[in-house]
């Protein structure tokens, strides 16, 4: 393991306040139903430290999942492990420190009763308050509840704050969404076909207690797990079977959304994709004033944007952490230093999370807002109270003849490049989007990928620069077709010609209009509404401007390296193809004095390196 860089800006050092307070060595598990306000029974697994004396009161970590809260393991694993084996790191890390853990299957999922119209429904959110009521009525509860999670469970932690329940003292959304449309469903207006389809498929199987898909998708999971754990008293599985029957009317996001092109398209019950977005609950979350620790990584889908948006939009006391790992922080996700191991390890991280929760329950809590971010290649943590951080200026690099990126504007009047869209172009299945399934991230094959793309490369940099924040791209282009998409990859080449991915951005071109309306929340970068009223087809042959942001990043680019921009019109293993009916579109990128295409980078000269 690579040691965590020792810096005062390292959040894992900053949170390192606790003494070694291991109080317990094991935990006892039980599973029951908790009945909520409308009679729906929520399957709950409770982990209590073993040896907890009857008079001892402890805080509770609530973890609400749409995946199984606990698994019925196969024999012989069932003889060796608890049903909480599926949770990594082990719940033991929390129970040893004197926390109870309550894992629940959200309604319509696992062994819980109820149905599920879509993720994060209002009823699902309210269940959090009912479960909190149940927790604080337990003899072992000290009346304090915290919540954490990663991905879906990160969002349920975030949304627990919506209830303004007085027992909830802190929440920790890890790798969690803010704006469902742009973070997950259709980043840049391009539908994430792969994830939406797979996630819905898996969700359907999980809700029907069918572990068969794991045989191909997660073989180790299939080997170990038979299905969801029924509650302890359900020895004949009659309750589990009843609950699963209620799931028959569940709805799944792929079926609900795969024909939707616009943010304001309505789902069958009259709601929209926005209704499952955390940003819709800004007012309620701020009213709670609950401290929030949000954490994510630069290369996790668009969740880096989600974490920054949460940070800049909510007034709650906050810590935000943006590192260099995959979705969930299990693997390294630093394309500039691909061979290192993930740091900190999940176990190390959990100990810091306990410190955060302890501070919020027993200490002075946290004040103000602090964002810690990791600068890749420099391999250093930084700290800021504002985003974007101060000290960065914008630097433009213009697309120019000879597939060059130049710092000076092109002088020719007519320069342009045709690019026949290659629908076989792909960023692979270990990209920032597929990691939403927990996969490692691997962008090491950009040389091969770029051969299908239109590329522009700069001369060697004369100075070392740091790029931190949202870079943007402006393209003046025309197409032979009315619909299309642009995928832009920002990369660097080292002195030996090795290519390293930095970040990317994309835009479906019918959404190109830059809106002057007030956005629904504070946004960084060009604002596209993705609404139907603002969309318009391209007129073949007519030059239009397409300006959009790259996903945020922080990376050091050494002197002598070259910047590279690679432009695609498709990413076949991830996104839906545009135009939907295919064809053989050709886009023409203008790179001349009249229609100037460029990338705009937030940079700082780093002569100190």
């Amino acid at each position: 393991m690579v040691a965590i860089p020792n810096s005062e800006n390292n959040p894992f050092k900053a949170l390192d306040k606790a003494t070694d307070k291991t109080l317990y060595e094991d935990y006892a598990v039980s599973s029951i139903y908790i009945k909520v306000r409308d009679g729906v029974k929520i399957a709950s697994t409770i982990c209590l430290p073993k040896g907890l004396s009857p008079e001892k009161k402890i805080p509770t970590l609530l973890y609400q999942t749409r995946y199984w809260r606990a698994a019925k393991l196969r024999v012989p694993f069932r003889w060796m492990f608890k049903e909480t084996l599926i949770h990594s790191p082990s719940p033991r890390l929390f129970t040893n420190y004197g926390y109870a853990i309550v894992y629940t299957d959200v309604r319509g999922c696992g062994a819980s009763y109820g149905t599920r119209p879509y993720p994060f429904s209002k009823e699902e959110i309210k269940d959090g308050a009912d479960i909190a009521d149940w927790i604080i009525s337990q003899p072992w509860s000290d009346g304090n509840i915290v919540s954490n999670g990663i991905s879906y469970t990160g969002s349920t932690a975030d949304l627990l704050a919506v209830n303004n329940h007085p027992a909830v003292k802190a929440v920790m959304p890890g790798h969690a969404l803010w704006d469902a449309f742009t973070d997950v469903v259709a980043p840049g207006g391009c539908y994430d076909e792969a994830f939406m389809r797979l996630w819905s498929f898996l969700g359907n199987k999980l809700d029907n207690n069918d572990s068969a898909p794991f045989k191909q998708l997660l073989p180790i999971g299939w080997i170990i797990m038979k299905g969801v754990k029924p509650i302890d008293s359900d020895t004949d599985l009659s309750l589990l079977n009843e609950a699963i029957q209620e799931h028959a009317t569940n709805e799944y996001v792929y079926e609900l959304s795969n024909d939707k092109d616009f943010r304001d398209d309505l789902l069958p019950d009259g709601t929209s994709i926005d209704d499952i977005s955390t940003y819709r609950y800004k007012q309620e979350i701020e009213k709670s004033n609950i401290p929030i620790l949000g954490w994510v990584s630069w290369l996790d889908s668009a969740y880096c944007d989600a974490t920054i948006n949460r940070f800049i939009n909510l007034n709650n006391p906050q810590i935000a952490i943006i590192g260099d790992w995959n979705h969930g922080g299990v693997y390294n996700g630093n394309p500039l230093v691909p061979d290192k191991e993930v740091s900190p390890t999940p176990e190390e991280r959990i100990k810091k999370w306990i410190d955060f929760f302890d501070t919020c329950i027993y200490g002075k809590g946290i004040q103000g807002k602090t964002l810690y971010y990791y600068t890749m290649k420099e391999e250093k943590w930084k700290k800021t109270h504002n985003w974007p951080p101060e000290g960065f200026t914008r630097q433009r690099w213009y697309l120019d003849e000879g597939n060059m990126l130049n710092i000076s504007k092109p002088e020719n009047q007519t320069g342009e490049d045709d690019y026949k869209i290659n629908f076989r172009a792909t960023s692979g299945r270990m990209n920032r989007w597929w990691t939403l399934l927990g996969l490692p991230i691997d962008y090491s094959n950009r040389e091969k990928a770029d051969k299908k793309l239109l590329c522009y490369t700069s001369p060697p940099l004369k100075e070392t620069i740091e790029i931190t924040g949202h870079a943007t791209i402006t393209l003046f282009l025309s197409s032979t077709h009315e619909d299309g998409a642009v995928f832009a990859y920002l990369e660097v080449l080292d002195e030996d010609g090795n290519i390293y991915y930095i970040t990317d951005g994309n835009l479906r071109l019918i959404h190109r209009k830059l809106s002057t309306e007030t956005p629904p929340y504070k946004m960084l970068g060009p604002y596209h509404t993705f609404k139907k009223k603002d969309s318009s087809p391209l007129v073949p042959g007519e030059v239009v401007e397409a300006t959009f942001a790259f996903r945020p990043t922080s990376a050091l680019i050494p002197k002598g390296y070259r910047l590279k921009l690679a432009i695609a019109g498709a990413d076949k293993d991830t996104f839906k193809q545009y135009p939907l009916d295919g064809g053989k579109p050709v886009i023409t990128i203008c790179r001349n004095a009249v229609n100037t295409s460029f990338i705009d980078l937030p940079i700082k000269i780093r002569n100190d390196i």
């Binding site: 196969r74 024999v75 012989p76 492990f81 084996l85 990594s88 068969a212 180790i220 038979k226």
Partner: protein, 121 residues
């Protein structure tokens, strides 16, 4: 889940003991540690699945299976010595096989299961 494999062999040895009684043609699986409920000990079909899935026992072996919650013991009784020996040999190597299967599964290789049919899911 990767992390559990590193400790699994030791945990297996701490949790499970096999006893052979060639005279009675009986193999016993003793589940150690905290007392397990009947549901945790499992059903007869699950024991057979374990032998097939992890032991590679791709044939129906005539045996009677007795699961006793009180003693935390699972007895496999045979009429035929050859069958007894086949299952004994499977149990003697089952942990190594499980480790191997898990390691392969972590890399996506489940070829081992291709010829073993469906399991009792």
């Amino acid at each position: 889940m990767e992390r559990f494999i590193g400790n699994a062999k030791q945990l297996f040895e701490d949790s499970i003991e096999f006893q052979h009684n060639e005279k009675d043609l009986t193999l016993s699986i003793i589940v150690k540690g905290d007392k397990k409920s009947k549901e945790v000990l499992g059903e007869e079909t699950e024991i057979r699945d374990m032998l097939r899935m992890f032991g590679g026992l791709n044939e129906d072996i005539a045996m009677e299976i007795y699961i006793d919650e009180e003693s935390q013991k699972i007895d496999l009784k045979f009429q035929d010595k050859d069958n007894y020996i086949k299952v004994r040999d499977v149990l003697d190597t089952i942990m190594e096989r499980i480790m191997d299967i898990c390691y392969k599964a972590l890399t996506g290789d489940i070829s081992h299961f291709n010829d073993l049919g469906d399991f009792n899911d």
